[in-house]
């Protein structure tokens, strides 16, 4: 615990340091002891899995159940064949990412583009269905993820989708991402600009 004198000294030092810096924020070593400890119960409803599967809530689902939920709650926006509509297209598009044709759009779907299966669980769980977000149970979300992955030919068998095996599913575009390499180095501008 801090004494009043120590706190005063730290506040003085911090104030002086900040005066020299107009952009970056100086590290602040003071504990103010505001707020309260968050209990496990406070945090139990939050879900945010990591790509290696840590943080996935316990549960499992089946592709058959996923099909049933999909037709009931998802097809109106994402299409009977997962072809998209009001919501994103979910399957297809493999082979379209390599493309330098301004007239043809690459097709970015769960099947062709998404690098991690855990993202599918995470997104459905937090934000879907669009008009009643957060209404699906964990088992329902595992089922839906399984159905979408099976329709995209990413999983071939009918095994249950669980918190244990979801992160192990290898997504087709797993190696499709590269780190930010900017700032880019540009060639000299064209000396003879023209209307394009």
């Amino acid at each position: 615990m801090f004494t009043t004198t120590k706190l005063f000294l730290l506040v003085t030092v911090f104030g002086t340091l900040s005066a020299f810096n107009t952009y970056a924020i100086s590290a602040d070593a003071i504990h103010y002891n505001f707020g309260e400890p968050a209990s496990a119960n406070d945090l139990k409803d939050f879900v945010s899995p990591l790509p290696d599967g840590r943080g996935l809530p316990a549960g499992s689902g089946t592709i058959a159940h996923g099909k049933q939920i999909y037709e009931e709650k998802c097809a109106s926006c994402h299409g009977q064949k997962l072809e998209g509509g009001l919501g994103d297209r979910l399957i297809g598009g493999r082979g379209t990412l390599v493309n330098d044709d301004p007239k043809k759009a690459p097709i970015k779907t769960v099947e062709s583009y998404w690098p991690y299966a855990t993202t599918l669980f995470d997104y459905i769980k937090r934000a879907m269905p669009f008009y009643s977000p957060g209404s699906l149970t964990n088992d329902e979300v595992y089922s839906l993820a399984g159905y979408i992955l099976s329709q995209g030919n990413i999983i071939k068998n009918n095994d249950p989708i669980t918190s244990e095996n979801l992160a192990k599913i290898l997504m087709p575009n797993r190696d499709g991402f590269i780190p930010d390499h900017r700032p880019e180095h540009f060639k000299p501008a064209d000396k003879n600009p023209q209307l394009r």
Binding site: I25, Y32, F34, P106, Y116, A189
Partner: protein
Amino acid sequence: MTIFEPDHDHDTKSKLKIASLVEAEEAFLAKARISANSVYFSPNVGSAGSAKGIEHLQRPQGRRHFLASVAALAGSGVAGMALAQTTPPSPENKAPAGAVWRPVPEDATKTQGVAIGEDGGYGTRSQFETEVRWRFTTKTPFSSWSMTPLEHGVGIITPSGLHFERDHGGIATIDPATHKLFVHGMVKQPKKFSMSDVKRFPSISRIHFIECSGNGLTEWSKPTLKTVQGTHGLVSTSEWTGVPLSIILNEVGVRTGAKWLLVEGGDASVMTRSIPLEKAMKDCFLAYGQNGEAIRPEQGYPLRLIVPGYEGNTHIKWVRRIELADMPFMTREETSKYTDLLPNGKAVQFSMIMEAKSVITRPSGEMVLPGRGFYEITGMAWSGRGRIKRVDVSTDGGRTWKPAQLQDPILPVCQTRFRYPWVWNGKEAILQSRCVDETGYVQPTLGQLIDIRGLNGPIGSVYHLNAIQSWKVDTEGRVSNVHYY
């Protein structure tokens, strides 16, 4: 309206999106062209324009018509102002959004004005000011965006009510009395904070721009939208006030090995992004203030993360939770959405810094220069890497460049206003601005960007288009969006 021919073998959604945006802008322009106060006011100029129309435009009409006002000064002056006083503010005789309609006396010096306090204690803008954000006409209004009318802006601050929006699940309505911020994960003591706890911490205020990395996505392969609001309206600047994230993280104690933090919004999309811990400790803050008052609901009331210089999507609104981890969470937004797909099939990930960019806001697309003579070319420049060092302006399509004046204050990660005096000689001109930031980065031409990023589809690699913008002035003074490089 079809901008790009539908191709049934490929996903047409992005093409339809562009068509929707063009329609939204057209609907806006149709109203603006007949509004005397709009910078786009042009009653007698048809879509094709005509010499007769231009001649008519040389007579003063709008009170605040930026370009026509030049003619008013040069020509009939006082007569023009008298004309404006008797012009109704809008054809419907109805106040625009954010204003209250009041009858206009013949002479305001001959009668008492509106009583003090009649506004209930919170002011409104003038009933003669009509600029608004316009929305991308998605099928659902809950996941959409609205754009800032940059062409009307003066100075560097965006009025809070005109700050652009991007919402993925509507605008959350949150009572600050019950709102909680949870901080947990790789920390020594998980904690929860009420809004009054958050406001007890030492605070900072910073003037920063926020730009959506999708700003300009329609403009990769051909000039598509017509106005600067359409081509550049997903950038705005506010003064933000809040508590440094480093203070909050110190309060919970970051555990060794933590490298990233997930910031989560409390809206219907439960928006999440992973932020590098190093960035969080350097300059991020949780803002509860915007331009001297509480942050607006559509900007994340009661609490929004500010990540200076990073793409707008990382500035999570309605923040309710922060979780620390040893790796990024790979959420939907940072894998399937805000990544830059290159022609070789690889996508750049965590490309979060907004590179230096500038644009001329006046004159800009769809305005009409009423005649030869003096115009002040003005616009904005900004960089996610620091301060703007220099802005050059070209009136000949980039063959020659002259330095523009920069208006103080020139702040890091903030829009900087530039000005350049210009006398139009009545000949065709291509107006461009090019900025340099304090790291020496020079704003590229669109051709240079495309050389690196390619054009994989009508909207290219979608994000981070920061190319030099070209506005063509034709011999009749009409300004249009062109690609010139």
